[in-house]
Symmetry: C2
Subunit: 404 residues, 2 copies
């Protein structure tokens, strides 16, 4: 008789964003006159830029003509895209990542969720607390953790690395050495960044201990200050211990278009086995490539005109971030993030819990954000706002919060 | 120290289509004057039809306008697509599959590869022999099988169900009851179909034994004869034991556009756990939806004009199939498939091995096909040709084979 994967049942029932959605729907139903502003989920609102739209139309036309029609894409992704990524995202920053070390995919979420498959099930996983839930949940589903402890709000068998204000929301090197270390900078949800020196310490730690760093760099395009690495491969020796995830979602507004990539350097080996070969095998067996038209859209992001448009778009969101950051600071809130990331992380006032503050904001200001505790117990008493709204809503949301 | 997933290393090294590619490249390099015709890999060649192109352009325009821009898609896929699928693919055939039992994805290959995750690792898997490699390989990678036995060319711990000419390439109900049963009709690689009575036997067998049928129906659009079920849900009780995979790749030429869907009926439960919930959890955690523009293209497939165009395209490929089938039969080959499927399955002459015949065809006719043994030992002495070429190449390939 067939049986289900029991590991799935270790996951606590309700998911953060569905709980938020339910609360908002209930509020709106009870208060039909109120206009609720959403700065919760990290979804973009600006349309795709003209160069990208142009590239999409042109690729669609190719698909309608037998002479230029494209069927299955190459396993790793089209070379035109992998080449330009290698040049502009890596070689331009003196990172020696070649086109054949880049795997095109339909987004960083999928890759972050699937990457754990190529590792042994008895590997110990370390995550930040608070954390983007996919890193943990995908390992729970694979049976790489123990049971969920409702009191600690943590899974047994996972190394949680607290990210607190005291260390600028960057974790300390764990004493218990994990096998797989998930790091995300600029960070979701805290908006914190790590400087090159501190990231180098992580790389050295991983190389010394034989750990692998799974580095989520989905928000690197939002880095505005110097000295902050855009890629982990800016650190010496990172190619021997690190896999990096990148996304076009926040860089170029591709949340509804779906494109990302993962870098697995050829030098990265465990017990003589190249992780590149394993990930290529996974790609070849369980995936069939990102759409040609979307890969052409990705290419347009790197054209001169495309790059200019993208920078303008990011500038727009970062002005939102500044408005939220400055506005809340002015109103007396303790805020961080928002300078090199599209997320603003704020301390709840009067020691309120994250959900109490959520309810307050929803009821008194009609503004929706994300309770920090939804990202783990380390996020308790914190709250996340995103810079992805339009200007009018963002400005009004800040005004409303100030008036509480 | 991090360790790799050792189960990956159970997979034999060289992959069928890369071996074919290598042989063809070597032949072409040594014989620069020869024009090689490829009827091997199952990739389409006809461009996307005008209605689909129109839908793509229109959706691209929506993505370029803030008022109509779409970010993250709903978890299950857009309702406009799930609704039309429910109506036209299911309710029109008296299958009671609702929109919320349909999960939109970027293709059947991904879903076929990922579905095993929601089942226990100690479940026993049954596959046809010959078989589409993804079913087996994804279970090997998950540790659901034993080692590969090079002599038997089979993995230990897997139930292989021989599909031979004696039973029209439909497997017999296995004596050793498996937990998960992969079936694919119309079949890849044999082009065989199963009639409703025999499929009902499988459904009854699964319901009696508590097995789950994973039914790959990616080629259903090629069924031309009556009495052949397009969906397993045409059988009584299938909603209690079956998951079905569908693809737009071969139906509408989406191999490079990527769209498919999986049906998990709400009635399908194991030990009280709804598989629908588990697949929804997997979708929500490790996937982020198919692109909006591609879902709109999928919708266009169901419009009246779209449907007419698609039928013409399928008719075109099926005329290729007929030409290959009739031509080879005339030349004295023992052929099957090709009537309700785009694949022609032929017995090699003079008891040649599949690879010997591959070499013969490449060298004497400059035609590339797929050795049946590449799909498992049950495919030895067989050979697959596909109907997805253009007319000119197909006609010439048949002429060349006849002349050998």
């Amino acid at each position: 008789m067939a049986k289900v994967n029991r590991d799935y049942q270790k996951l606590p029932g309700s998911y953060l964003f569905s709980t938020i959605g339910k609360k908002v729907r209930e509020y709106e139903a009870a208060n039909p006159g109120k206009r609720v502003i959403r700065l919760g989920i990290g979804d973009v609102t600006q349309p795709l830029s003209p160069e990208i739209i142009k590239a999409l139309h042109s690729a669609v036309d190719e698909m309608g003509d037998a002479k230029t029609f494209k069927g299955y894409a190459p396993d790793l992704g089209y070379e035109f895209l992998r080449k330009v990524i290698s040049e502009k995202d890596y070689k331009a920053r003196s990172c020696e990542i070649g086109p054949d070390e880049i795997f095109i995919s339909d987004g960083a979420k999928c890759d972050c969720g699937n990457i754990q498959e190529i590792f042994s099930r008895d590997n110990v996983v370390a995550v930040c607390d608070p954390v983007y839930p996919v890193y943990v949940d995908s390992n729970v589903m694979a049976g790489r953790t123990g049971e969920y402890d409702p009191e600690k709000q943590r899974f047994n068998g996972v190394v949680y690395m607290p990210c607190t204000a005291e260390t600028d929301f960057v974790p300390k090197l764990p004493e218990e050495v994990p096998d797989l270390i998930y790091l995300c900078f600029p960070n979701n949800p805290t908006g914190a960044v790590i400087n090159k020196e501190r990231l180098q310490e992580w790389v050295d730690y991983a190389n010394m201990n034989g750990s692998v760093i799974l580095y989520d760099s989905a928000y690197e395009a939002y880095i505005s200050e110097p000295g902050i690495p855009h890629s982990i491969y800016e650190c010496k020796g990172a190619e021997n211990c690190s896999i990096e995830f990148r996304s076009f979602s926040k860089t170029a507004g591709f949340t509804g278009l779906r494109l990302g990539y993962t870098v697995v350097p050829r030098a990265l080996k465990l017990e003589g086995v190249a992780l590149h070969d394993l990930w290529a095998r996974r790609h070849g067996t369980k995936y069939n490539g990102a759409p040609y038209i979307v890969q052409r859209a990705g290419e347009a992001v790197y054209s001169e005109k495309g790059r200019q448009e993208i920078e303008k778009q990011i500038g727009f969101y970062m002005e939102n971030a500044r408005l939220i950051y400055e506005g809340l600071k002015e109103a007396g809130y303790q805020v961080s993030g928002g300078v090199n990331a599209p997320y603003i992380w704020l301390r709840t006032p009067d020691d309120m819990t994250s959900w109490e503050f959520f309810d307050l904001l929803l009821n008194k200001a009609n503004v929706v954000g994300t309770p920090g505790s939804g990202f783990g117990p380390g996020g308790e008493h914190y709250f996340r706002l995103t810079a992805f709204g339009n200007r009018e809503n963002t400005v009004e949301a800040v005004e409303r919060i100030k008036r509480i």
